[in-house]
């Protein structure tokens, strides 16, 4: 196996610009990245720093304006060119979107979550679908009574967990989560983080976890990447970055967290 092939995702000089002329915005400056299975990568940065754009490029929802993305050594463009390989790519890499409007308002959650099972995993029998769904729902502490609901009939947190369920049933090799806990109550956040962490560990999945805050990322991932205005300003293991931040922005960020946690400690 060659070097490139062992990585699930390989990004070479991948960057993205929106608009042209005066309206040109550089969302992501060209960057290199290797993502291996079994590796958890946290990506943080303030909003507008290009995290979502980066994540969306990895699943083909945006086309990079420069550089190439490859999956197991094969360019993403090729993966997405034919129906069969496109499905195979979807089996390997799944993405949970940032916003919670990612469900068809007319579909029940049951129908929505069973789609990837049918189309990507080829599960035909209703009973099998039901049992796989139950297993995931149990992990996510989702009540089966919610299956027959439509998106507008549940809370944002429940919708977000169904979105996770829709990706997790596929059992991908790499899961990309875009701010999946930002919309949740603090009380639910912990539970969902725990769940993602456990699930990823049990199934030996790779994980790219995008968040705008530090705590969730340090809890869930071992590696950290800090983005600012489309640029990667810092990367390394969580321990390294937290103890020895090199970029002033990261230092600032850490200082802010330190002071806020002190305040909280003081209050308790």
């Amino acid at each position: 196996m060659s070097d490139a092939e062992q990585f699930i995702l390989t990004l070479d000089g991948v960057g993205k610009e929106y608009g042209r002329g005066r309206h040109r915005v550089t969302a992501v400056q060209p960057l290199d990245l290797r993502v291996d299975a079994d590796v958890e990568l946290g990506v943080i940065g303030e909003s507008g720093s290009g995290k979502s754009t980066l994540a969306r490029m990895m699943v083909g929802l945006e086309t990079p304006s420069s550089g190439t993305i490859a999956c197991n050594g094969r360019p993403l463009r090729e993966w997405l060119s034919t129906r069969a390989s496109r499905l195979e790519y979807r089996r390997r890499v799944q993405y949970v979107a940032q916003d919670t409007t990612s469900f068809d308002p007319r579909q029940t959650f049951y129908d929505a979550v069973s789609v990837p099972l049918r189309l990507l995993r080829g599960v035909r029998s209703e009973r099998e679908i039901r049992s796989r769904l139950d297993a995931i729902a149990d992990e996510l502490s989702l009540d089966p009574a919610l299956y027959s609901r439509q998106p507008h009939q549940v809370s944002g947190g429940q919708r977000q967990r169904f979105a996770l369920a829709r990706s997790l049933v596929v059992e991908p090799q790499l899961l990309i989560c875009d701010e999946v806990v930002s919309a949740l109550d603090v009380s639910v956040q912990g539970a969902v983080l725990n769940l993602i962490k456990r699930h990823v560990a049990e199934h030996h999945m790779g994980l790219i976890f995008v968040a705008h805050g530090l705590p969730a990322v340090t809890f869930i991932s071992s590696n950290l990447m800090v983005m600012r205005q489309g640029e990667v300003v810092e990367r390394g293991t969580v321990a390294d970055v937290v103890t020895r931040p090199r970029h002033p922005y990261t230092q600032e960020l850490l200082a802010a967290y330190a002071s806020s946690s002190q305040k909280e400690g003081g209050r308790q």
């Binding site: 496109r86 993405y95 990612s102 469900f103 068809d104 308002p105 990837p116 209703e126 299956y147």
Partner: protein, 306 residues
């Protein structure tokens, strides 16, 4: 038109006002239903055959002939009742045809117009053509189409459908443009759905609302155009009891002071278009309410599967 999704939340807000709501919802349908009922029951209600002379000509209204008789002795009441049948026949066919056609064309335009290549070109072209056709006055288009195809029911249907299909095309296109930006389409893509499947399963069902609610309006407009074409003398063939044609053939009597051959069909047109207009405004308002009701009737179906 942009407030599609909130419909459902509105439905939840209306739901508690149960009985009053149901009665109002039913009343929204009554005028339209009445027109349709007269059309369907015409053979039962009408006292005489509508296309044979049954009495002396030009009799004024009397107990035997409530609406009098026309220039060839046909019973105007029977003809007016059968007129509803003609109007409803055309109305239903045209409404269904143009809604189905409009939704299909509108969806195609909405999905293809921003893509590059032949499909995008075709989509943009169709959209332009639709805009230009929208600029043709209904009656004028009717005259030209009937003139070229020769006068027949088929030609009339084509003519009126061509006039009225543009509204559902535009309504659906705007909806599709909105729906395409929805992130659930991206999720569907990631779940392995092809764009064709997504168009059928997600885009169309979420975009047909305005076109469906526009259907009664098409129905009403069809009645108006049909009567107008009949009135200027290029509608359905001669003895057929069509209101517009009846009015125009009653004109010569009207000038001589015999008002009944023209006035009764005119009143029928007036009442029916008002009834249809009332329903076509009230039904969309009742739509969310009805949607909730239907859901309540059939809540188990889905659960059983889940």
């Amino acid at each position: 038109m942009s407030a599609q999704f909130p419909d459902q939340t509105a439905a939840l807000a209306v739901a508690p006002r149960r009985t009053g709501g149901t009665i109002r919802a039913v009343f929204a349908f009554v005028p339209l239903a009445l027109v349709v009922a007269i059309a369907v029951l015409a053979p039962v209600i009408a006292p005489y055959d509508p296309v044979t002379s049954v009495a002396a000509s030009r009799l004024p209204p009397s107990p035997e002939h409530w609406f009098g008789t026309d220039a060839v002795g046909m019973d105007i009441l029977s003809r007016t009742i059968y007129g509803a049948r003609i109007a409803v026949q055309f109305g239903v066919i045209v409404a269904v045809l143009s809604t189905i056609g409009g939704v299909l064309i509108g969806t195609f335009i909405g999905l293809s117009e921003s893509s590059s290549g032949v499909l995008g070109l075709l989509g943009r072209g169709l959209n332009q053509i639709s805009s230009y056709l929208l600029a043709i006055p209904d009656v004028i288009l009717g005259i030209v189409v009937v003139g070229i195809m020769g006068s027949s029911d088929f030609a009339l249907t084509v003519a009126i459908t061509l006039c009225l299909v543009q509204a559902p095309v535009k309504l659906t296109r705007v909806e599709v443009l909105r729906v395409r930006r929805e992130s659930y389409l991206e999720s569907a893509k990631l779940a392995g759905e092809s764009s064709f499947r997504a168009a059928l399963v997600h885009v169309m069902p979420n975009s047909i609302g305005p076109a469906m609610r526009n259907m009664p309006l098409i129905f009403g407009n069809c009645v108006i155009i049909l009567a107008s074409l009949g009135f200027i003398g290029i509608g359905v063939k001669a003895p057929t009891p069509e209101w517009g044609y009846m009015i125009s053939s009653g004109l010569s009597s009207l000038v001589l002071g015999r008002w009944w051959p023209a006035v009764f069909p005119a009143a029928a047109v007036l009442l029916s278009v008002l009834a249809i207009a009332y329903s076509s405004r009230a039904i969309p308002r009742m739509w969310p309410l009805l949607a909730v009701r239907v859901k309540r009737w059939n809540p188990i179906g889905r659960k059983a599967r889940a």
